[in-house]
Amino acid sequence: MADVKIDHLVKNYNPGVARDVLRDINLDIKEGEFVVFVGPSGCGKSTLLRAIAGLDDITSGDLYIGGKRMNDVPPVNRGVGMVFQSYALYPHMTVRENLAFGLKIKKIDKAIAKERVAQASAMLGLDSFLERKPKALSGGQRQRVAIGRALVQHPDVFLLDEPLSNLDAALRVKTRIELARMHQERGSTTIYVTHDQVEAMTLANKIVVLSPLTDDGAASNLEQFGPPLDLYHAPANRFVAGFIGSPKMNFLDGMIEEAGEQRTRIKLDTGISLTASVDSSRGRAGDKVEVGIRPEHTVMLDDPRADNRVTGTVQVAEHLGAETFVYLEVGGKDFTVKVRPETPAAPQSQFDIGVPADACYLFDAKGQAFPRTARFSRT
């Protein structure tokens, strides 16, 4: 067991030629935490994971695992186990040999090695496949072998790179729950990369949101690091707000009409005024802002909490049975709302929706969030 500390980490594959992939990353991952890296494709999640594992070197900055500086320590001595995005099973070895490979290399006592393999195989339900080669396994079974292979090493830090990405929906849920249980049982520090919102929100103690670096000279591409619900309710900026949550948050342009410590009045570009429970004391009337509203935070107009009204034209309605999503166009922008099942919404008709003041997020012209003074939940 060990904590992981990342200090001003920079990674550039080709310094001087290419642009940085990771810039000024600072993370303090406590022992036993389950941390999930999320971000759009190409933002450097795998790169950061590989840097922690020691498969790629760090351009500058420091990496500590268990309090020890690891910059120049080879992968095997870092006490990390990694599950590759591609599984990377040894195709010419049976499942048993795959599991035992690392123990054999490290010359671990045969009896202990056998014990560990048996333990991992029982835990992951691999007992009946032990003598098979990887090509005779299904995707989900290969996946479990990959996890098992990292597990038998008893790593201090467990690294997983999109381990569930090739599984079907049912198996994904099952394996996700298995992983959560495994983490509870063993309590090893775990770092997990995923594209999947649900995986991130359900598994993580803390989420790291990364963004791709462009040439705009951003100081860092670490957007936010915190518990899932903090990221959901109090995103640091527009990027995190737009990334966390599914379907995506809606954004409407406007400007501050009246700033305040508890409440802010905003005039949207569409002409209507809106009240938001946001502390905008650092802003002034006339500042350009963006209002963010989550689809699941809208209410019907007859709801007492419907402080504001937004009107749009219906594009499409999706009736999923348990819920209905209506895709609106509001002032030329897409606006998604989640409404009660079977709410009628004919295409091209006008649709009014209520927006509670407590449900509004507000971002300044640079995309930084104003502090919210309330957390909204629909029920």
């Binding site: 498969l55 095997v76 995005q85 591609s86 599984y87 990377a88 099973l89 040894y90 195709p91 010419h92």
Partner: protein
């Protein structure tokens, strides 16, 4: 169950078969000729494909046995053909093994390690290889006679010297193996290294076992090249007892007397080890070794 085929496909298949048989005949016919010559009485290059009165004399001579001619004289075998064959096999096996070892490690460096001048070196190797060995014969001779002065065991007129010369021709093999290595996902070795393997262990325990088919191909190619090679061997080897079969069998063909029958028997014999190696190596030529390792 066979797929239902349209008439035109059947005709095309027929045409393909006819073409293939024709092609096969083209390849096999010269071989049959040589075999026929080796059983024909006297030393004639032309004659019936099925010898009218077949004889084993040429084979007896090739296998080192004396024969008795029409006038009752005993004719001892003129050349040590079996010894030559042994020399050929020895040189070919050792150089093929060394070539596989050298080109594999070399290919690993080119496929997996980053160093400056890597691509330049790769291209240069190939370009130098394009220069025909025949044109460099003088250089070979000069080089090896110089080596003889300092270290005779590796110099002119030695088998190690010849093998050493053959080791120069690995560029093509390096390219072949490098191409194969690059199809193997790098994460397999990275995974092995996380498991505690040294780079050498990752190479030997993960990459090599997965590359057996290409190593078998390279071994066969290197073996065939070495056993049939003539120009370099004819320059470097001088003692009759040290010749390889490819060089030695030419002794049967001197302008005073072309001993086609004896030559043919020796030629067929030199084909035997190649066939043998091919049959042995075939079991390693399997596909699908890397299946299931990484997700597609």
């Amino acid at each position: 169950m066979a797929m239902v085929e349209s008439q035109s496909v059947i005709y095309r298949k027929l045409a393909a078969h006819v073409f293939l048989w024709f092609f096969l005949a083209l390849i096999i016919f010269p071989l049959l000729m040589v075999i026929a010559i080796s059983f024909r009485t006297g030393n004639f290059a032309v004659g019936d494909i099925i010898p009218s009165n077949p004889t084993l004399d040429h084979w007896r001579l090739a296998l080192g046995m004396s024969i008795i001619d029409e006038s009752g004289r005993t004719i001892p075998p003129p050349f040590p053909v079996l010894l030559w064959l042994w020399n050929s096999v020895k040189v070919a096996v050792i150089s093929a093994i060394l070539i596989v070892a050298l080109s594999t490690t070399c290919a690993y460096a080119f496929a997996r390690l980053r160093f400056s001048g890597r691509s330049l070196l790769l291209k240069a190797m190939l370009i130098f290889q394009m220069f025909p060995a025949v044109l460099a014969l003088v250089a070979y001779y000069a080089l090896f006679s110089r080596i003889t002065e300092y270290f005779p065991p590796l110099g002119l007129n030695t088998h190690p010297g010849l093998i050493f010369a053959y080791l120069g021709g690995i560029a093509l093999h390096v390219w072949t193996i490098k191409g194969y290595f690059e199809t193997i996902d790098k994460s397999l070795e990275e995974s092995a290294m996380l498991d505690g393997a040294s780079p050498w262990q990752a190479f030997r325990l993960i990459l090599l076992p997965l590359s057996v088919p290409i190593l078998a191909v390279v071994f066969i190619l290197a073996f065939i090249t070495a056993i049939t090679e003539y120009p370099v061997a004819s320059i470097l080897l001088q003692d009759e007892a040290k010749l390889t079969l490819a060089v030695g069998s030419q002794y049967y063909l001197n302008p005073q007397e072309y001993k086609w029958g004896d030559f043919a028997a020796a030629a067929v014999m030199s084909g035997l080890p190649i066939t043998l190696v091919f049959l042995l190596a075939q079991r390693w030529l399997v596909g699908g070794l890397t299946a299931g390792g990484v997700k597609g």
